[in-house]
Protein backbone atom coordinates (compact mmCIF):
# COMPACT_ATOMS: atom_id res chain seq x y z
CA UNK A 1 0.00 0.00 0.00
CA UNK A 2 1.26 3.47 -0.83
CA UNK A 3 -0.01 6.34 1.24
CA UNK A 4 0.43 9.91 0.10
CA UNK A 5 -0.15 12.71 2.59
CA UNK A 6 -0.48 16.37 1.67
CA UNK A 7 1.94 16.34 -1.23
CA UNK A 8 2.87 19.69 -2.68
CA UNK A 9 5.16 20.26 -5.63
CA UNK A 10 5.87 23.36 -7.65
CA UNK A 11 8.36 24.59 -10.21
CA UNK A 12 9.28 28.23 -9.69
CA UNK A 13 6.06 30.15 -9.07
CA UNK A 14 3.85 27.46 -10.57
CA UNK A 15 2.23 24.97 -8.20
CA UNK A 16 1.81 21.67 -10.02
CA UNK A 17 0.53 19.51 -7.17
CA UNK A 18 -1.44 21.19 -4.45
CA UNK A 19 -1.87 19.34 -1.16
CA UNK A 20 -2.89 15.96 -2.55
CA UNK A 21 -3.50 12.97 -0.27
CA UNK A 22 -4.42 9.47 -1.40
CA UNK A 23 -4.10 5.79 -0.58
CA UNK A 24 -3.10 3.34 -3.33
CA UNK A 25 -4.08 -0.13 -2.22
CA UNK A 26 -2.29 -3.44 -2.70
CA UNK A 27 -3.68 -5.87 -5.25
CA UNK A 28 -5.62 -3.12 -6.99
CA UNK A 29 -5.16 -1.00 -10.09
CA UNK A 30 -5.03 2.55 -8.83
CA UNK A 31 -5.56 5.04 -11.62
CA UNK A 32 -4.57 8.69 -11.67
CA UNK A 33 -6.55 10.41 -14.38
CA UNK A 34 -6.80 13.97 -15.57
CA UNK A 35 -6.27 16.26 -18.52
CA UNK A 36 -2.79 17.01 -19.85
CA UNK A 37 -1.04 19.36 -17.44
CA UNK A 38 -3.16 18.34 -14.47
CA UNK A 39 -0.12 17.09 -12.56
CA UNK A 40 -0.46 13.31 -13.08
CA UNK A 41 3.07 12.74 -14.33
CA UNK A 42 4.64 14.99 -11.69
CA UNK A 43 2.60 13.11 -9.07
CA UNK A 44 3.94 9.79 -10.34
CA UNK A 45 7.50 11.12 -10.49
CA UNK A 46 7.16 12.25 -6.87
CA UNK A 47 5.89 8.79 -5.92
CA UNK A 48 8.89 7.01 -7.45
CA UNK A 49 11.38 9.59 -6.20
CA UNK A 50 12.36 11.16 -9.52
CA UNK A 51 11.09 14.47 -8.11
CA UNK A 52 11.33 15.54 -4.48
CA UNK A 53 8.01 16.90 -3.23
CA UNK A 54 8.21 20.37 -1.64
CA UNK A 55 6.23 19.07 1.33
CA UNK A 56 4.18 16.06 2.39
CA UNK A 57 4.87 12.40 3.04
CA UNK A 58 4.95 9.29 0.90
CA UNK A 59 4.73 5.98 2.75
CA UNK A 60 5.46 2.62 1.16
CA UNK A 61 3.83 0.03 3.44
CA UNK A 62 4.53 2.25 6.41
CA UNK A 63 8.07 3.21 5.38
CA UNK A 64 8.48 6.96 5.00
CA UNK A 65 10.01 7.39 1.53
CA UNK A 66 10.66 11.10 1.98
CA UNK A 67 12.75 10.50 5.11
CA UNK A 68 14.84 7.67 3.62
CA UNK A 69 18.50 8.20 2.77
CA UNK A 70 19.78 7.32 -0.69
CA UNK A 71 20.91 3.79 0.33
CA UNK A 72 17.50 2.91 1.76
CA UNK A 73 15.83 4.34 -1.29
CA UNK A 74 18.01 2.20 -3.53
CA UNK A 75 16.84 -0.86 -1.61
CA UNK A 76 13.20 0.12 -1.93
CA UNK A 77 13.57 0.94 -5.61
CA UNK A 78 14.50 -2.64 -6.32
CA UNK A 79 10.95 -3.53 -5.32
CA UNK A 80 9.53 -0.94 -7.73
CA UNK A 81 8.86 -1.63 -11.39
CA UNK A 82 7.91 1.07 -13.83
CA UNK A 83 6.50 1.11 -17.33
CA UNK A 84 7.28 4.39 -19.06
CA UNK A 85 5.18 6.23 -21.59
CA UNK A 86 7.76 5.63 -24.33
CA UNK A 87 8.73 2.24 -22.82
CA UNK A 88 12.29 3.51 -22.11
CA UNK A 89 13.91 0.34 -23.39
CA UNK A 90 17.69 0.42 -23.81
CA UNK A 91 18.10 0.79 -27.60
CA UNK A 92 21.50 -0.86 -27.74
CA UNK A 93 20.23 -4.04 -26.10
CA UNK A 94 17.99 -6.81 -27.41
CA UNK A 95 14.66 -7.59 -25.77
CA UNK A 96 16.33 -10.39 -23.82
CA UNK A 97 19.21 -8.17 -22.66
CA UNK A 98 16.75 -5.45 -21.60
CA UNK A 99 14.97 -7.91 -19.32
CA UNK A 100 18.21 -9.52 -18.16
CA UNK A 101 19.66 -6.18 -17.13
CA UNK A 102 17.95 -5.85 -13.69
CA UNK A 103 18.68 -9.53 -13.02
CA UNK A 104 22.37 -9.08 -13.87
CA UNK A 105 22.57 -5.94 -11.78
CA UNK A 106 20.77 -7.10 -8.65
CA UNK A 107 20.76 -10.90 -8.43
CA UNK A 108 23.43 -13.50 -7.97
CA UNK A 109 21.56 -16.21 -9.86
CA UNK A 110 23.34 -18.41 -12.39
CA UNK A 111 23.06 -17.50 -16.08
CA UNK A 112 20.73 -20.47 -16.56
CA UNK A 113 18.39 -19.32 -13.81
CA UNK A 114 18.37 -15.80 -15.19
CA UNK A 115 17.50 -17.01 -18.68
CA UNK A 116 14.72 -19.16 -17.23
CA UNK A 117 13.28 -16.10 -15.50
CA UNK A 118 13.53 -14.06 -18.71
CA UNK A 119 11.63 -16.75 -20.60
CA UNK A 120 9.03 -16.86 -17.83
CA UNK A 121 8.28 -13.14 -17.96
CA UNK A 122 8.34 -13.09 -21.76
CA UNK A 123 5.81 -15.92 -21.68
CA UNK A 124 3.75 -13.94 -19.19
CA UNK A 125 3.51 -10.96 -21.54
CA UNK A 126 2.98 -13.20 -24.58
CA UNK A 127 6.25 -12.32 -26.25
CA UNK A 128 7.76 -15.72 -26.82
CA UNK A 129 10.36 -15.70 -29.58
CA UNK A 130 11.12 -11.98 -29.46
CA UNK A 131 14.28 -12.47 -27.37
CA UNK A 132 16.83 -11.50 -29.97
CA UNK A 133 15.00 -8.52 -31.45
CA UNK A 134 16.10 -4.95 -30.82
CA UNK A 135 13.57 -2.33 -29.62
CA UNK A 136 13.75 -0.63 -33.03
CA UNK A 137 12.53 -3.85 -34.67
CA UNK A 138 9.33 -4.29 -32.64
CA UNK A 139 5.96 -2.53 -32.58
CA UNK A 140 4.77 -0.01 -29.97
CA UNK A 141 2.55 -2.60 -28.28
CA UNK A 142 5.41 -5.10 -28.10
CA UNK A 143 7.67 -2.41 -26.62
CA UNK A 144 5.12 -1.80 -23.88
CA UNK A 145 4.98 -5.53 -23.17
CA UNK A 146 8.78 -5.71 -23.00
CA UNK A 147 8.60 -2.70 -20.64
CA UNK A 148 6.13 -4.60 -18.45
CA UNK A 149 8.31 -7.73 -18.57
CA UNK A 150 11.35 -5.71 -17.47
CA UNK A 151 9.32 -4.05 -14.74
CA UNK A 152 8.12 -7.34 -13.24
CA UNK A 153 11.25 -9.44 -13.70
CA UNK A 154 12.46 -8.78 -10.13
CA UNK A 155 9.00 -9.55 -8.65
CA UNK A 156 8.26 -5.97 -7.60
CA UNK A 157 5.84 -5.03 -4.83
CA UNK A 158 4.88 -1.82 -6.59
CA UNK A 159 4.22 -1.24 -10.28
CA UNK A 160 3.94 2.19 -11.85
CA UNK A 161 2.66 2.66 -15.40
CA UNK A 162 2.88 6.07 -17.02
CA UNK A 163 0.35 6.36 -19.86
CA UNK A 164 0.58 2.67 -20.82
CA UNK A 165 -1.86 3.11 -23.71
CA UNK A 166 -0.44 6.18 -25.36
CA UNK A 167 0.16 5.69 -29.06
CA UNK A 168 -1.53 2.28 -29.16
CA UNK A 169 -4.58 1.17 -31.10
CA UNK A 170 -7.73 0.35 -29.04
CA UNK A 171 -7.27 -3.43 -29.29
CA UNK A 172 -3.63 -3.37 -28.22
CA UNK A 173 -4.55 -0.90 -25.46
CA UNK A 174 -7.08 -3.37 -24.18
CA UNK A 175 -4.48 -6.16 -24.16
CA UNK A 176 -2.05 -3.98 -22.20
CA UNK A 177 -4.80 -3.05 -19.73
CA UNK A 178 -5.73 -6.67 -19.22
CA UNK A 179 -2.09 -7.59 -18.74
CA UNK A 180 -1.62 -4.88 -16.10
CA UNK A 181 -4.77 -6.00 -14.32
CA UNK A 182 -3.81 -9.68 -14.40
CA UNK A 183 -0.28 -8.99 -13.17
CA UNK A 184 -1.62 -6.83 -10.34
CA UNK A 185 -3.92 -9.57 -9.11
CA UNK A 186 -1.52 -12.45 -9.77
CA UNK A 187 1.48 -10.91 -8.00
CA UNK A 188 -0.68 -9.02 -5.47
CA UNK A 189 1.18 -5.78 -6.09
CA UNK A 190 0.26 -2.14 -5.69
CA UNK A 191 -0.22 -0.77 -9.17
CA UNK A 192 -0.49 2.92 -9.96
CA UNK A 193 -1.45 3.82 -13.53
CA UNK A 194 -1.35 7.27 -15.00
CA UNK A 195 -3.81 7.56 -17.87
CA UNK A 196 -6.38 9.58 -19.71
CA UNK A 197 -7.65 6.63 -21.67
CA UNK A 198 -11.32 6.10 -20.87
CA UNK A 199 -11.27 2.44 -21.85
CA UNK A 200 -8.58 1.85 -19.20
CA UNK A 201 -10.62 3.74 -16.65
CA UNK A 202 -13.63 1.51 -17.24
CA UNK A 203 -11.65 -1.72 -17.63
CA UNK A 204 -9.16 -1.65 -14.81
CA UNK A 205 -10.03 1.26 -12.52
CA UNK A 206 -10.35 -0.41 -9.11
CA UNK A 207 -9.52 2.91 -7.55
CA UNK A 208 -9.53 6.14 -9.52
CA UNK A 209 -8.23 9.55 -8.56
CA UNK A 210 -9.14 12.44 -10.83
CA UNK A 211 -6.75 15.37 -10.79
CA UNK A 212 -7.55 18.84 -12.01
CA UNK A 213 -5.01 21.67 -12.04
CA UNK A 214 -2.88 19.98 -9.39
CA UNK A 215 -5.76 19.20 -7.02
CA UNK A 216 -7.49 15.93 -6.26
CA UNK A 217 -10.95 16.61 -7.62
CA UNK A 218 -12.66 13.24 -7.27
CA UNK A 219 -11.95 9.73 -5.98
CA UNK A 220 -13.85 6.49 -6.49
CA UNK A 221 -13.93 3.39 -8.71
CA UNK A 222 -15.03 2.47 -12.22
CA UNK A 223 -18.53 1.61 -11.06
CA UNK A 224 -19.04 4.97 -9.38
CA UNK A 225 -17.38 7.19 -11.97
CA UNK A 226 -20.17 6.91 -14.50
CA UNK A 227 -22.73 8.21 -12.02
CA UNK A 228 -20.58 10.97 -10.59
CA UNK A 229 -22.14 14.40 -10.36
CA UNK A 230 -18.78 16.18 -10.40
CA UNK A 231 -18.98 18.61 -13.31
CA UNK A 232 -15.23 18.79 -13.97
CA UNK A 233 -14.98 15.00 -13.96
CA UNK A 234 -18.01 14.65 -16.23
CA UNK A 235 -16.60 17.21 -18.66
CA UNK A 236 -13.38 15.19 -18.75
CA UNK A 237 -14.85 11.71 -19.07
CA UNK A 238 -17.79 12.43 -21.30
CA UNK A 239 -16.00 14.74 -23.67
CA UNK A 240 -17.44 13.03 -26.74
CA UNK A 241 -21.08 13.00 -27.73
CA UNK A 242 -21.02 9.23 -28.05
CA UNK A 243 -19.91 8.79 -24.45
CA UNK A 244 -22.42 11.36 -23.23
CA UNK A 245 -25.22 9.43 -24.96
CA UNK A 246 -23.93 6.15 -23.52
CA UNK A 247 -23.90 7.69 -20.06
CA UNK A 248 -27.43 9.03 -20.42
CA UNK A 249 -28.60 5.58 -21.45
CA UNK A 250 -26.82 3.97 -18.49
CA UNK A 251 -28.56 6.50 -16.22
CA UNK A 252 -31.91 5.59 -17.75
CA UNK A 253 -31.10 1.93 -17.18
CA UNK A 254 -30.16 2.64 -13.56
CA UNK A 255 -33.45 4.45 -13.07
CA UNK A 256 -35.30 1.48 -14.60
CA UNK A 257 -36.55 3.49 -17.56
CA UNK A 258 -34.84 1.25 -20.09
CA UNK A 259 -34.31 -2.50 -20.18
CA UNK A 260 -30.68 -3.65 -19.69
CA UNK A 261 -30.90 -6.13 -22.57
CA UNK A 262 -32.19 -3.43 -24.93
CA UNK A 263 -29.42 -1.08 -23.81
CA UNK A 264 -26.67 -3.66 -24.32
CA UNK A 265 -28.08 -4.37 -27.76
CA UNK A 266 -28.15 -0.65 -28.54
CA UNK A 267 -24.59 -0.05 -27.35
CA UNK A 268 -23.33 -2.93 -29.47
Amino acid sequence: MIEVKNIKKGFGDKTVINDVSAVFQTGKCNLIIGTSGSGKTVMMKCLVGLFEPDSGDINYDGMDFSAMNEDHRKGLRQSIGMLFQGSALFDSMTVEQNILFPLDMFTKSTPGEKMKRVDEVLDRVNLQGANKKFPAEISGGMKKRVGIARAIVLNPKYLFCDEPNSGLDPQTSLLIDKLIKEITTEYNITTVVNTHDMNSVMEIGDHIMYMYQGNKEWEGNNKEIIFSKNKLLNDFIFASEFLRDAKDMRMLEAEGKIDKQDLDELLK
Binding site: M82, D104, M105, F106
Partner: protein
Protein backbone atom coordinates in the same frame (compact mmCIF):
# COMPACT_ATOMS: atom_id res chain seq x y z
CA UNK B 1 26.30 33.91 -12.60
CA UNK B 2 25.12 31.33 -15.15
CA UNK B 3 28.71 30.11 -15.51
CA UNK B 4 28.97 29.56 -11.74
CA UNK B 5 25.66 27.68 -11.69
CA UNK B 6 26.78 25.46 -14.56
CA UNK B 7 30.17 24.89 -12.94
CA UNK B 8 28.48 23.99 -9.66
CA UNK B 9 26.24 21.48 -11.42
CA UNK B 10 29.28 20.04 -13.19
CA UNK B 11 31.04 19.55 -9.84
CA UNK B 12 27.91 17.95 -8.39
CA UNK B 13 27.80 15.53 -11.31
CA UNK B 14 31.42 14.57 -10.65
CA UNK B 15 30.81 14.20 -6.92
CA UNK B 16 27.69 12.13 -7.57
CA UNK B 17 29.77 9.53 -9.44
CA UNK B 18 31.43 8.33 -6.29
CA UNK B 19 29.23 5.74 -4.65
CA UNK B 20 29.43 2.02 -3.98
CA UNK B 21 28.68 0.19 -7.25
CA UNK B 22 25.48 -1.88 -7.19
CA UNK B 23 27.32 -4.68 -9.00
CA UNK B 24 31.07 -4.29 -9.64
CA UNK B 25 30.96 -6.86 -12.48
CA UNK B 26 28.42 -4.80 -14.43
CA UNK B 27 30.47 -1.64 -13.92
CA UNK B 28 33.58 -3.43 -15.16
CA UNK B 29 31.66 -4.65 -18.20
CA UNK B 30 30.52 -1.10 -18.94
CA UNK B 31 34.08 0.23 -18.45
CA UNK B 32 35.47 -2.33 -20.92
CA UNK B 33 32.69 -1.52 -23.37
CA UNK B 34 33.56 2.16 -23.18
CA UNK B 35 37.29 1.43 -23.57
CA UNK B 36 36.46 -0.41 -26.76
CA UNK B 37 34.08 2.32 -28.00
CA UNK B 38 36.49 5.15 -27.29
CA UNK B 39 39.78 3.39 -28.02
CA UNK B 40 39.11 0.98 -30.87
CA UNK B 41 36.38 3.25 -32.24
CA UNK B 42 38.77 6.18 -32.62
CA UNK B 43 41.87 4.27 -33.69
CA UNK B 44 41.25 4.67 -37.43
CA UNK B 45 40.83 8.44 -37.42
CA UNK B 46 43.75 8.87 -34.99
CA UNK B 47 46.01 6.77 -37.25
CA UNK B 48 45.10 8.70 -40.39
CA UNK B 49 45.50 12.11 -38.74
CA UNK B 50 48.80 11.14 -37.11
CA UNK B 51 50.49 9.83 -40.25
CA UNK B 52 49.55 12.91 -42.28
CA UNK B 53 50.37 15.23 -39.39
CA UNK B 54 53.91 13.80 -39.19
CA UNK B 55 54.33 13.81 -42.97
CA UNK B 56 53.22 17.43 -43.35
CA UNK B 57 55.34 18.44 -40.39
CA UNK B 58 58.44 16.89 -42.02
CA UNK B 59 57.82 18.58 -45.38
CA UNK B 60 57.10 21.99 -43.88
CA UNK B 61 60.11 21.86 -41.55
CA UNK B 62 62.35 20.95 -44.48
CA UNK B 63 60.86 23.86 -46.46
CA UNK B 64 61.68 26.32 -43.68
CA UNK B 65 65.19 25.03 -42.81
CA UNK B 66 67.18 26.40 -45.69
CA UNK B 67 70.47 27.16 -43.92
CA UNK B 68 73.37 24.92 -44.96
CA UNK B 69 74.74 25.23 -41.40
CA UNK B 70 71.85 23.24 -39.94
CA UNK B 71 72.25 19.48 -40.34
CA UNK B 72 69.40 17.72 -42.16
CA UNK B 73 68.85 15.38 -39.24
CA UNK B 74 67.47 18.39 -37.33
CA UNK B 75 64.30 18.02 -39.44
CA UNK B 76 63.62 14.66 -37.79
CA UNK B 77 64.41 16.13 -34.39
CA UNK B 78 61.91 18.94 -34.93
CA UNK B 79 59.27 16.52 -36.25
CA UNK B 80 59.78 14.31 -33.16
CA UNK B 81 59.49 17.13 -30.66
CA UNK B 82 56.57 18.84 -32.39
CA UNK B 83 54.67 15.59 -32.61
CA UNK B 84 55.36 14.62 -28.99
CA UNK B 85 54.93 18.03 -27.43
CA UNK B 86 51.98 19.41 -29.35
CA UNK B 87 50.53 17.60 -32.31
CA UNK B 88 49.80 14.22 -30.77
CA UNK B 89 48.36 15.32 -27.45
CA UNK B 90 46.58 18.51 -28.51
CA UNK B 91 45.55 17.95 -32.10
CA UNK B 92 44.48 14.36 -31.52
CA UNK B 93 42.52 15.35 -28.40
CA UNK B 94 40.77 18.15 -30.28
CA UNK B 95 39.74 15.66 -32.95
CA UNK B 96 38.67 13.23 -30.22
CA UNK B 97 36.63 16.00 -28.58
CA UNK B 98 34.57 15.93 -31.76
CA UNK B 99 34.49 12.18 -32.26
CA UNK B 100 34.23 10.92 -28.68
CA UNK B 101 32.69 14.03 -27.09
CA UNK B 102 29.75 14.28 -29.46
CA UNK B 103 29.13 10.55 -29.09
CA UNK B 104 29.08 10.73 -25.30
CA UNK B 105 26.82 13.81 -25.27
CA UNK B 106 24.36 12.42 -27.80
CA UNK B 107 24.27 8.97 -26.20
CA UNK B 108 23.51 10.36 -22.74
CA UNK B 109 21.19 13.01 -24.16
CA UNK B 110 19.19 10.39 -26.00
CA UNK B 111 19.02 8.25 -22.87
CA UNK B 112 17.77 11.25 -20.88
CA UNK B 113 15.14 12.28 -23.41
CA UNK B 114 13.83 8.75 -23.92
CA UNK B 115 13.60 8.25 -20.12
CA UNK B 116 16.21 5.47 -20.10
CA UNK B 117 18.12 7.33 -17.37
CA UNK B 118 14.91 7.58 -15.32
CA UNK B 119 14.35 3.86 -15.86
CA UNK B 120 17.82 3.11 -14.45
CA UNK B 121 17.25 5.48 -11.50
CA UNK B 122 13.99 3.75 -10.65
CA UNK B 123 15.75 0.38 -10.70
CA UNK B 124 17.95 1.80 -7.94
CA UNK B 125 21.05 2.41 -10.03
CA UNK B 126 23.21 5.49 -9.51
CA UNK B 127 23.23 6.65 -13.11
CA UNK B 128 26.07 9.10 -12.54
CA UNK B 129 28.24 6.20 -11.42
CA UNK B 130 27.01 3.69 -13.94
CA UNK B 131 26.76 5.87 -17.04
CA UNK B 132 29.21 8.72 -16.53
CA UNK B 133 32.09 7.30 -14.51
CA UNK B 134 32.96 4.39 -16.87
CA UNK B 135 33.08 6.85 -19.77
CA UNK B 136 35.46 9.20 -17.97
CA UNK B 137 37.64 6.39 -16.64
CA UNK B 138 37.76 4.71 -20.03
CA UNK B 139 38.73 7.98 -21.71
CA UNK B 140 41.45 8.68 -19.15
CA UNK B 141 42.72 5.12 -19.59
CA UNK B 142 42.56 4.84 -23.36
CA UNK B 143 43.24 8.33 -24.72
CA UNK B 144 46.85 8.50 -23.43
CA UNK B 145 47.42 5.20 -25.26
CA UNK B 146 45.99 6.74 -28.41
CA UNK B 147 48.32 9.70 -27.94
CA UNK B 148 51.34 7.38 -27.70
CA UNK B 149 50.20 5.50 -30.82
CA UNK B 150 49.65 8.84 -32.54
CA UNK B 151 53.16 10.04 -31.69
CA UNK B 152 54.72 6.86 -33.07
CA UNK B 153 52.60 7.01 -36.22
CA UNK B 154 53.38 10.71 -36.59
CA UNK B 155 57.10 10.00 -36.62
CA UNK B 156 56.60 7.12 -39.04
CA UNK B 157 54.61 9.47 -41.29
CA UNK B 158 57.37 12.07 -41.10
CA UNK B 159 59.99 9.47 -41.94
CA UNK B 160 57.99 8.16 -44.90
CA UNK B 161 57.40 11.65 -46.30
CA UNK B 162 61.01 12.72 -45.79
CA UNK B 163 62.53 9.62 -47.37
CA UNK B 164 60.01 9.28 -50.21
CA UNK B 165 60.53 12.89 -51.30
CA UNK B 166 64.32 12.57 -50.95
CA UNK B 167 64.62 15.34 -48.37
CA UNK B 168 66.80 13.11 -46.23
CA UNK B 169 67.74 9.45 -46.01
CA UNK B 170 66.25 6.97 -43.57
CA UNK B 171 69.56 6.87 -41.68
CA UNK B 172 69.63 10.68 -41.36
CA UNK B 173 66.03 10.69 -40.13
CA UNK B 174 66.70 7.94 -37.57
CA UNK B 175 69.79 9.79 -36.35
CA UNK B 176 67.70 12.94 -35.90
CA UNK B 177 65.04 11.05 -33.98
CA UNK B 178 67.63 9.92 -31.45
CA UNK B 179 69.60 13.12 -30.98
CA UNK B 180 68.94 15.40 -27.97
CA UNK B 181 65.94 13.35 -26.92
CA UNK B 182 64.46 14.51 -23.59
CA UNK B 183 62.30 11.87 -21.84
CA UNK B 184 60.65 14.76 -19.94
CA UNK B 185 58.84 15.65 -23.17
CA UNK B 186 57.03 12.32 -23.03
CA UNK B 187 56.02 13.01 -19.42
CA UNK B 188 54.72 16.42 -20.55
CA UNK B 189 52.77 14.83 -23.40
CA UNK B 190 51.25 12.30 -21.02
CA UNK B 191 50.30 15.02 -18.51
CA UNK B 192 48.49 16.77 -21.35
CA UNK B 193 46.87 13.57 -22.56
CA UNK B 194 45.42 12.72 -19.12
CA UNK B 195 44.16 16.27 -18.59
CA UNK B 196 42.59 16.51 -22.05
CA UNK B 197 41.07 13.03 -21.75
CA UNK B 198 39.28 14.10 -18.59
CA UNK B 199 38.04 17.30 -20.24
CA UNK B 200 36.79 15.70 -23.46
CA UNK B 201 34.87 13.01 -21.58
CA UNK B 202 33.49 14.85 -18.55
CA UNK B 203 32.27 17.99 -20.35
CA UNK B 204 30.17 16.11 -22.95
CA UNK B 205 28.92 13.79 -20.21
CA UNK B 206 27.73 16.83 -18.26
CA UNK B 207 25.92 18.36 -21.24
CA UNK B 208 24.44 15.04 -22.34
CA UNK B 209 23.30 14.01 -18.87
CA UNK B 210 21.51 17.31 -18.30
CA UNK B 211 19.68 17.54 -21.63
CA UNK B 212 16.02 18.46 -21.35
CA UNK B 213 13.63 18.62 -24.27
CA UNK B 214 13.83 16.68 -27.50
CA UNK B 215 16.02 15.74 -30.43
CA UNK B 216 16.92 19.36 -31.15
CA UNK B 217 18.31 19.83 -27.64
CA UNK B 218 20.41 16.67 -28.00
CA UNK B 219 22.04 18.17 -31.09
CA UNK B 220 22.57 21.49 -29.31
CA UNK B 221 24.08 19.81 -26.27
CA UNK B 222 26.37 17.77 -28.48
CA UNK B 223 27.60 20.83 -30.38
CA UNK B 224 27.99 22.90 -27.22
CA UNK B 225 29.93 20.13 -25.50
CA UNK B 226 32.39 19.89 -28.41
CA UNK B 227 32.91 23.66 -28.53
CA UNK B 228 33.41 23.97 -24.77
CA UNK B 229 35.72 20.92 -24.70
CA UNK B 230 37.89 22.32 -27.51
CA UNK B 231 38.19 25.72 -25.83
CA UNK B 232 39.06 24.10 -22.50
CA UNK B 233 41.62 21.81 -24.16
CA UNK B 234 43.37 24.83 -25.68
CA UNK B 235 43.19 26.71 -22.39
CA UNK B 236 44.58 23.74 -20.46
CA UNK B 237 47.26 23.34 -23.14
CA UNK B 238 48.46 26.87 -22.44
CA UNK B 239 48.35 26.47 -18.66
CA UNK B 240 50.24 23.15 -18.75
CA UNK B 241 52.86 24.56 -21.12
CA UNK B 242 53.34 27.59 -18.88
CA UNK B 243 53.60 25.48 -15.74
CA UNK B 244 55.49 22.40 -16.90
CA UNK B 245 57.88 23.69 -19.58
Amino acid sequence: MKFLTEFGRYLLLLRGMFSRPENAKMYWKEFMHQCSEIGIGSLGIVAIISVFMGAVSALQTAYQLVSPFIPLSTIAQIVRDTVILEFSPTLVCIVLAGVVGSKIASELGNMRVSEQIDALEIMGINTKSYLVMPKILAAVFVIPMLVVISAVLGMIGGRLAATMTGILTAAQFDKGLHQFFKPYNVFFAMAKAYTFAFIISSIPAFYGYNVSGGALEIGRASTKSVVVSCVLVLFADYILSAVLL
